[in-house]
Symmetry: C2
């Protein structure tokens, strides 16, 4: 027997699981389209060079990479943003900016397998490219908030924790960490919740930060008030932009969803401005969603500087959260009709009735098992059929069928032609 | 600059192309669900062993395969049926047969790049597992016919060409080709349309068929009438099953779509009964769709024999056909509203109005460019907006906005609160 399990770290989607995935995708697609975002996609296979970065992003070390038969170095995409950047650079001349695009790609990372971690997930991505004002952040945040609300989550259940990389840059500059090291230092700072403080300090010191600098950094990172920070920093650009954004969100009616959190860094080196995560108010989960502004990513690929804001919102964590909160949607299989013939000669007629009803938009299955009535009724019930159409020979010879309401347990004969007109 | 093109043989989907793909997926999903099929999916990454077969299927030679960091031999799936077989074997005990399942996976083949060929495509798969009667073939054929009809194709545009592997087996047995060679001979016969007759004869002779046998085979393959074939063959099981199926399809109202065609073989070695292809009546395209019965696939993986019928229906050929027939759907971008503020102080208000309208189900974009009126009207038109909401300062101070109908070029002031109630 072959190995019946999916590849380690990947998932199968049986129909029950697929209905859940489709439900989630529909939420993502609906809120995206309502907010004027357009869907795009790229191939899960990309050139490996798209993910090779100078800074030590974890993502570059976890690539599924290989050489194809033509000697090309290819990777399964670990995230969507580099592919999006590639598309934008490819069509930069003809696109009319700002563009608002979304996608729902499957992404792959070869990670060590710990609880809740997988090697693939689907990740809703939404991005606004070509808008340097904070209204882009506002639109992006509104979109992900509306997604959470569409899933049945309220302000009691989640919060957008937000920071700005420029605030972190200002802190690092103020304690004399050279600018060229900022990105790498931030990749380390992002691990704060995952490793012990001593290990973190050691990693920072390996980045040529002194013990004193590490202490100063921790001092700054203990501040939770934007105004207090503003008084202590020389460069306040990041703080002002963040305050502007929060004011805008307040006017738009989203004040209660946003919370400044200086510990939000994000692990990707390409962020340049706002960075944010969605989590429960007590931050007891892994981030449901994360994103930020990345104005210089396109220029690192050889293009001009193009302002960009976006997020990634995976399918795994949010479904765990919904399950924990008992907000999991109930999505049983459903059918309008099950058609049940009782003899082989009726099969063609059953198919014909099914075809007509489907043409009218009904969802119709047939049960050709020719089993006992009781068994077939049980199967009709299990398949979620609202009604069963029974092809009893007596009625059929009269061009009639018997319709049974599966909820009310009532049945009555109906002329076949009336079946079609009544379903209209 | 990095390489901006997608990996050779793969496609990018910009929003225009994505709308088309989504349209096609929706047709596939709708007709599948209406016919009582349930959606499933597996990961694009599978264990390579799933595709290694004894017979010389071309598909096994065109795998994108590699070794992961844990030393596993993995492949990007070239087709969905082996994954489906894996799922069925995995849950065989708990599934209630027959099951009717569909999926829309992206599949990969490392092919030489000729015109119209790509290295990936999306392929709608629908299968009925656990039904050995020909009603399974009938349901499968009805499903793919309804998909073609949903796309705007009629009996003038396409035909299901059908054959039965057992007819081909009967012919090969009758001319004394040993049964163990049948599968491999059929893989060669499937190339009939692609290579010259002499080359085909040579390949058959390399399979230890004599020149006489090749001649006899060609003689049989020139017959287009089922009754004539029946008179000339000892084993008529395949012919009778096919006639039974055609009778059933006639009763169900699909007579005109089906045509017996002895040249239909299909290139996959696992087919055991009916085999079919969809093409234009003159067969001028590559097959739009192909499939058949494969009762022994699951047993080759180590399970019991489980009857199965299904098809694969790719996205590339059918879109080419629709384009050629000028039946390509028009799918421009569409919005219900574009909101246009004229000053920075109005941005929060614009976002608030947008949020309210979206909550009511409207599709709403905003134009924050602060450009000249004419330019913004042009952009509203290009984005497919039905209406523009103009935030003129005078009206706004009165809690009103101006709504402009983009088709009628008429505009009028409306109270903001009325905007929400009228959209309900």
């Amino acid at each position: 027997m072959i190995d019946l399990q999916p590849v380690k770290g990947t998932r199968d989607f049986f129909p029950d699981e697929m209905r859940l995935r489709n439900w989630l995708f529909e939420v993502w697609r609906n809120v995206s389209e309502q907010a004027g975002f357009e869907e795009y996609d790229t191939c899960v296979l990309e050139h490996e060079e798209l993910y090779v970065r100078k800074t030590g992003d974890e993502i570059s070390k976890q690539l599924y990479s290989f050489e194809d038969k033509g000697g090309r170095r290819l990777s399964l995409r670990p995230e969507m943003t580099p592919s999006l950047a590639r598309l934008v650079l490819q069509q930069e001349k003809s696109l009319s900016f700002p563009i608002k695009w979304f996608s729902m790609p499957q992404c792959f990372r070869y990670e060590r397998m710990t609880k809740g971690r997988r090697r693939e997930h689907f990740q809703w991505n939404a991005d606004i490219i070509g808008q340097h004002e904070v209204v882009a952040e506002a639109e992006i945040l509104m979109l992900l908030i509306s997604a959470c609300e569409s899933m049945g989550l309220s302000t009691n259940d989640f919060r957008v924790f937000i920071n700005d990389r420029r605030i972190l840059n200002a802190i690092l500059s103020q304690i004399n960490v050279p600018q060229v090291l900022h990105s790498e230092v931030m990749v380390i700072m992002d691990k704060r919740d995952k490793i012990p403080p001593e290990a973190l300090s050691k990693m920072l010191e390996e980045m040529r930060m002194t013990t004193k600098q590490v202490g100063q950094l921790n001092e700054y990172l203990s501040k939770s008030d934007l105004e207090e920070l503003r008084e202590n920093l020389k460069n306040t650009e990041g703080i002002e932009e963040l305050q502007h954004l929060m004011k805008l969100m307040e006017t738009a009616g989203y004040k209660n969803y946003l919370q400044f959190d200086i510990s939000i860094v994000r692990g990707l080196s390409y962020y340049t401005g706002a960075v944010f995560e969605v989590n429960s108010p007590e931050k007891q989960h892994r981030a449901i969603c994360g994103g930020g502004r990345y104005d210089s990513l396109l220029s690192t690929y050889g293009g001009e500087t193009v302002p960009a804001v976006g997020f990634g919102f995976g399918d795994v964590v949010v479904l765990d959260v919904l399950k924990e909160l008992k907000r999991f949607p109930e999505l049983p299989r459903k059918l309008d009709y099950t058609i049940i013939p009782f003899a082989n000669e009726q099969i063609g007629t059953a198919l014909k009735i099914a075809a007509e009803l489907r043409l009218q938009g009904s969802t119709v299955d047939c049960n050709f098992s020719m089993k006992k009535m009781k068994k077939m009724m049980q199967q009709a019930h299990e398949s979620g059929a609202a009604k069963a159409i029974l092809l009893f020979p007596d009625e059929l010879s009269d061009d009639k069928v018997v319709i049974r309401d599966m909820q009310l347990h009532e049945q009555k004969p109906v002329r076949i032609t009336d079946l079609f007109s009544s379903a209209e």
